[in-house]
């Protein structure tokens, strides 16, 4: 009987592996392999346009990375963006989800679709549109501000306004987070609200003492995703500023700097070190977030 069970389990796992094989092969060939190659390249001075002159330089790239003023600048820009954009990327979808979860809102499916719609716009198209929308002379944001008697900033070209402008553009893509938040909200047991109402809790109290704790795993999930996305932020800044990274490098995100090293200067060795540096920083922050999560994330089942 035991022998039969073992044989069946083995056969099942073989079939499982067989079905997984396309993904595994794809991962090894297109992700795992290149990752290992890039790790190796990070210890060389590989420059693509000089393929015959590659040398092993040990930790040379890593030492350079630690003291590179552009890396420091790019970390500051990314950190600045993270501090502004991540709270928005959590608060705005939560607000929209609460709105959509309200019993008083009519035409919910319509609004749900409309709120999600911008996610379907390709990032490049969205960035080009926003560049026009934020133009200081003809963009409708500044035209509206001017109409209200307020000075319209030069969102795209003034170094002070570059990060707020990109954060504003980021609101375009909160639809995914909104859907996840909405699912979280709909899973909060209504008995909790009923009981709180009986106890005289007002809406504000119910939101912060019931809703937020109950959906804290969802908020945490979005926090991790938004943080990683902030570190990987590239597309919109690239479309708007191309290789220039904006005036005074105001949009020199970490990924922008990495891109320039890899695909403008072709310094693949150093770019590989930058990529692995980003991986290490991202990993450290994610571990930190998980460590901190124990204090504020509530799991109804008592575990994760």
């Amino acid at each position: 009987m035991r022998l039969m069970g073992t044989s069946w389990a083995r056969r099942e796992s073989t079939w499982g592996l067989l079905f997984l094989a396309p993904w595994i092969i794809g991962f090894v060939l297109f992700f795992g392999g290149p990752m290992l190659v890039s790790l190796g390249a990070s210890f060389t001075d590989l420059v693509l346009v000089r393929p015959g002159e590659v040398h092993f330089i040990g930790l040379g790239n890593w030492a350079r990375l630690a003291g590179d003023p552009l890396v420091i600048k790019s970390l500051l820009v990314t950190g600045n963006f993270l501090l502004i954009a991540v709270p928005i990327a959590l608060a705005l979808p939560l607000l929209m989800a609460v709105l959509l979860n309200s019993t008083r809102l009519v035409a919910k499916p319509l609004f749900r679709s409309l709120f999600f719609l911008p996610v379907l716009i390709p990032g490049v198209a969205g960035a080009i549109i926003w560049k026009g929308v934020l133009n200081v002379h003809t963009g409708w944001v500044d035209l509206a501000l001017t109409g209200l008697g307020l000075p319209g900033p030069d969102w795209v070209n003034d170094p002070q306004w570059v990060i707020p402008a990109l954060s504003l553009i980021g609101t375009w893509s909160v639809g995914n987070a909104m859907v996840i938040m909405l699912a979280g909200l709909q899973n909060v047991p209504t008995e909790l609200y009923d009981a709180a109402k009986v106890d005289g809790a007002n809406a504000f109290y119910r939101f912060f003492k019931i809703t937020i704790p109950m959906i804290s795993p969802v908020i945490f999930y979005n926090l991790v995703l938004a943080t990683i996305a902030a570190f990987q932020y590239f597309l919109t800044a690239y479309v708007i500023y191309q290789n220039t990274a904006g005036p005074n490098n105001a949009a020199l995100f970490y990924m922008m700097n990495l891109y320039k090293e890899a695909f403008v200067y072709y310094n693949m060795g150093y770019a590989s070190a930058l990529a692995w540096g980003l991986f290490i920083v991202g990993l450290a922050i994610t571990i930190g977030l998980f460590a901190g999560a124990r204090r504020w994330v509530y799991y109804a089942a008592g575990d994760r």
């Binding site: 590989l46 420059v47 693509l48 346009v49 000089r50 393929p51 929209m96 709105l99 959509l100 309200s102 008083r104 809102l105 009519v106 035409a107 609004f111 409309l114 709120f115 719609l117 911008p118 716009i121 198209a125 080009i128 549109i129 926003w130 560049k131 026009g132 929308v133 133009n135 200081v136 002379h137 003809t138 963009g139 409708w140 030069d154 795209v156 070209n157 003034d158 170094p159 609101t171 375009w172 479309v239 500023y241 191309q242 290789n243 220039t244 990274a245 904006g246 005036p247 005074n248 490098n249 320039k260 695909f263 403008v264 200067y265 072709y266 693949m268």
Partner: protein, 484 residues
């Protein structure tokens, strides 16, 4: 009921905020930059390889790489295919195959192929920037030219010489040239009651020498705000300009700006970074034009809907644009609803008595790593003199006897507009030596530093240009000194 209404209106406003920019903004135009000559962005990235092992048979395969310059739009691809087919039909020993890569990724793709050892044989058309990017990878053609008795006499010797690089040899034969001059919108001059700018070198304008001071005074009169005041008026509103007098169309980099006031380099004979005095003076002049006197658009104006999202002259709201012949590819002809109905070209003004009309030039190159240079050169000769390619690339032939056909084609395209193309031909005699796009040490980084400077100068009011120039010099010195 009230809460329900408020919530619904709130949701509607949020939807408008998230999607409204789509509805309220003007149609999207492709952002254009001309880092290289003659490149017009294609709508979708192109990637095409014509290699057919069966057709190749036992012939030597020569690979032609297209994309570093122009060559990847559908009309061009059609002609390029025919050019390749015609060659292959005429050949017993060589099979020509073509790889076309979109310009936006052509440089990266070629770099990757180089690193992987999958090197094309013939590359082109390619401008100065493309050549400098892959410096050290081009074959010296001197021996091939001699062995094949290739006649260089139809070419301007100084242009041939510009491809003879120290340490690399003769890396190209002239294919196409793009002189520079001033495009002007006749209707805007007529509206202002002003005579057109000079079309002959040495001519005066309204009794004054045609220099940059005259250009400035003229441009101020052609720059107009939304109340109809020009830039000479005390009531002129610089935040509400609807028409500019002059722009350096796609030529706002420090080297491009500087060259209008005389050819020079950002490196001296000892290899030190330097800021030439005439270039610094020109940077201050153009910076004041953008942020003090307001007769030239800054980047915020250039990229606005009103000014063609970068293609300022084509918007119809610019009186004069200084740029190269390749800009004809960006002007919509009247037959296609072009906003500039009536235009012509004039000579560039002089600076302190000297006139400099910057030159862009394209060629083809053979990669040093190619295994069969003799076969490559047979292809090279065929491509470099091919009339169909010159026509479809919109390129002025480097061979003088082929130029009249080229301008005839442009006349057809822009009919009924009649353009005095002799200005373009005459401008060749005033080309910049050394060329403003010439390679610098650690070229890619040095070029990026100039691009960063360009962004700063074209976007930021209140700068001390002299101080910024010194910062640029220090940055360049650091880049030149970097160990490679």
């Amino acid at each position: 009921m009230f809460k329900r209404a408020v919530l619904t209106w709130g949701a509607t406003l949020l939807v408008l905020a998230l999607t409204g920019s789509n509805a309220l903004s003007a149609p999207v135009a492709q952002t254009q930059t001309f880092a290289q000559t003659t490149v017009a962005p294609t709508q979708t990235p192109v990637s095409l390889n014509t290699f057919d092992p069966a057709a190749a048979g036992g012939r030597t395969v020569v690979k032609w790489y297209v994309g570093l310059g122009t060559g990847a739009n559908p009309t061009q691809i059609e002609v390029e295919r025919k050019v390749v087919d015609d060659f292959n039909k005429s050949q017993q020993s060589i099979y020509l195959t073509m790889q076309i890569v979109d310009n936006t990724v052509a440089s990266q793709t070629l770099a990757t192929q180089l690193a992987a050892g999958n090197v094309p044989d013939v590359v082109g058309p390619v401008g100065t920037v493309g050549r400098a990017t892959f410096a050290g990878n081009w074959m010296d053609l001197t021996d091939l030219i001699q062995a094949n008795n290739f006649d260089l006499s139809p070419y301007e010797p100084s242009v041939v010489q510009s491809y003879n690089l120290p340490g690399e040899g003769l890396i190209g034969i002239p294919f196409a040239v793009f002189p520079s001059f001033v495009y002007f919108n006749k209707d805007l001059f007529d509206e202002a009651g002003l005579p057109y700018p000079p079309q002959n070198f040495g001519e005066t304008y309204m009794g004054k020498e045609w220099n940059f001071e005259t250009l400035r005074d003229l441009s101020k009169r052609l720059t107009v705000d939304d109340k109809g005041n020009d830039a000479t008026s005390a009531d002129f509103a610089p935040d509400h300009i609807i028409q500019f007098g002059f722009d350096l169309q796609y030529r706002t980099g420090p080297r491009e700006m500087g060259t209008t006031w005389g050819a020079n380099r950002l490196i001296d004979n000892e290899g030190r970074a330097t800021i030439p005095a005439n270039w610094l003076a020109s940077w201050n002049f153009y910076y004041d034009a953008m942020f003090k006197d307001h007769w030239m658009p800054n980047d915020a104006y250039r990229n606005s809907d009103l000014f063609g999202k970068g293609s300022v002259f084509n918007s119809g709201n610019l009186a004069m644009a200084y740029t190269h012949l390749w800009y004809t590819g960006s002007i919509d002809p009247p037959s296609k609803g072009g906003k500039v109905k009536n235009w012509d070209i004039a000579v560039i003004p002089s600076y302190q008595g000297t006139t400099t009309a910057a030159l862009h030039a394209d060629t083809f190159g053979i990669m040093k790593a190619s295994q069969h240079p003799n076969e490559d050169f047979q292809v090279y000769k065929y491509l470099i003199t091919n009339k169909d390619l010159l026509t479809v690339y919109g390129a002025m032939p480097a061979i003088k006897s082929m130029q009249s056909d080229f301008f005839g084609g442009l006349d057809q395209k822009f009919a009924p507009v009649k353009v005095n193309w002799q200005v373009a031909i005459n401008s060749l005699a005033y080309n910049d030596v050394p060329n403003h796009e010439e390679g610098l040490p650690n070229f890619l980084k040095a070029r990026q530093a100039t691009t960063d400077f360009q962004t700063l100068v074209n976007t930021t009011p209140g700068l001390d240009i002299n101080a910024e120039a010194q910062r640029l010099r220090a940055t360049l010195q650091g880049i030149y000194d970097e160990k490679r």
